[in-house]
């Protein structure tokens, strides 16, 4: 598609531009909702800054560990070749990094997680959807070879794929599903009772979507173990976490009833 644009003679990746646009959109919508629930503009900015820093670090680290084995990394370091550090961003690494960042940002802003969660979490899939449009522009994260309706062709992909081969539009499908998740979470926000309900609702929906979409992916730069991709294993882990949380509250509720 259009992986680069030229501004003042400098080549800039459209993926990066769309990723930043997605981040800005999430921040603006979070600030807008924050006004309604009494979360200050500055607090949202602090949460966003921590999340961006940790998400980039997490996404980058996961890309390196998914792409290279530990022995490869040791061999690179021994040879003095640090080119392996120039990697991409894996969304799941970013998501886990972003979740870890909340611990630090809550310490700074001194507000309850439930307030921050309802302002930020429902809009994360919307930002992610815009990022996926960036993937279409860059020609990365594409689907398996496919010549049916809506097949995408990448004449100048950053991954150097065959320009005459059609690919399944996994990025666009994921973008659409992410928009759907966003609307579901906005609707669920009013019904959520416990702190963490919206976040775990998002993890449940996204892990299912990602697990299924991975079967349609065709890009080679991803780890595969036991017939499943790394992202599918992470999806299984996150979904198990959601189920474990539900079971915990169910047993807690029945134990409270018995003691009462």
């Amino acid at each position: 598609m259009y992986p680069y644009i030229n501004i003042f003679g400098r080549t800039i990746g459209t993926y990066g531009i769309l990723m930043v646009l997605g981040m800005f959109l999430v921040a603006i919508l979070a600030i807008r909702h924050g006004k309604r629930v009494g979360l200050a503009f500055e607090d949202v900015i602090i949460v966003a800054a921590f999340a961006i820093g940790f998400a980039l670090l997490g996404g980058w680290l996961m890309f390196i560990f998914v792409t290279f084995s530990i022995s490869d990394i040791i061999a690179f370091i021994k040879a003095g070749d640090f080119s392996f550090l120039q990697g991409g961003i894996v969304f799941y690494g970013g998501l886990i990094g972003g979740m870890l960042s909340v611990y630090f940002s809550l310490k700074v802003i001194k507000r309850p997680f439930a307030v921050v969660e309802q302002c930020v979490v429902p809009y994360i899939p919307l930002g992610h959807a815009i990022g996926r449009v960036g993937c279409v522009m860059a020609g990365c994260c594409h689907g398996a070879p496919y010549d049916g309706p809506l097949a995408l062709y990448y004449p100048n992909s950053v991954l150097g794929v065959d320009p005459h081969q059609g690919y399944f539009p996994t990025q666009l499908l994921e973008a659409l599903l992410n928009i759907g998740i966003c609307f579901c979470l906005i609707a669920y926000r009013k019904k959520a009772r416990r702190s963490g309900d919206i976040l775990f609702g998002y993890l449940a929906l996204y892990s299912v979507v990602r697990f299924i979409l991975e079967f349609f992916r065709g890009d080679a730069i991803r780890g595969i173990a036991g017939g499943l991709s790394t992202s599918q294993w992470i999806s299984v882990g996150l979904f198990a976490l959601v189920v474990a949380r539900l079971l915990f509250f169910k047993f807690k509720k029945s134990a409270d009833k018995e003691s009462a």
Binding site: G16, I45, A49, L56, Q86, G87, G88, V108
Partner: protein, 75 residues
Amino acid sequence: MGVAALILGIISIVFCWWNWIGIIPGVIGVILGAIAKKKNANCAGAGLVLSIIGLALSVVLYIACVACAVAGGLL
């Protein structure tokens, strides 16, 4: 804290062309700028705005670098 955010914002804009280096002062500058703005400290608004611009530019250009690295066969 506002002045620190201002300085970090300027550093972030200056280094935004240089791989990921601009992201670190950008993130710290945004956090310090927002805290300073809550306390109505001097230069807080300017520091916050410059840090946000520096961080945004650094992320855009870093991701471009990543795409260049992939396209150049480094991976």
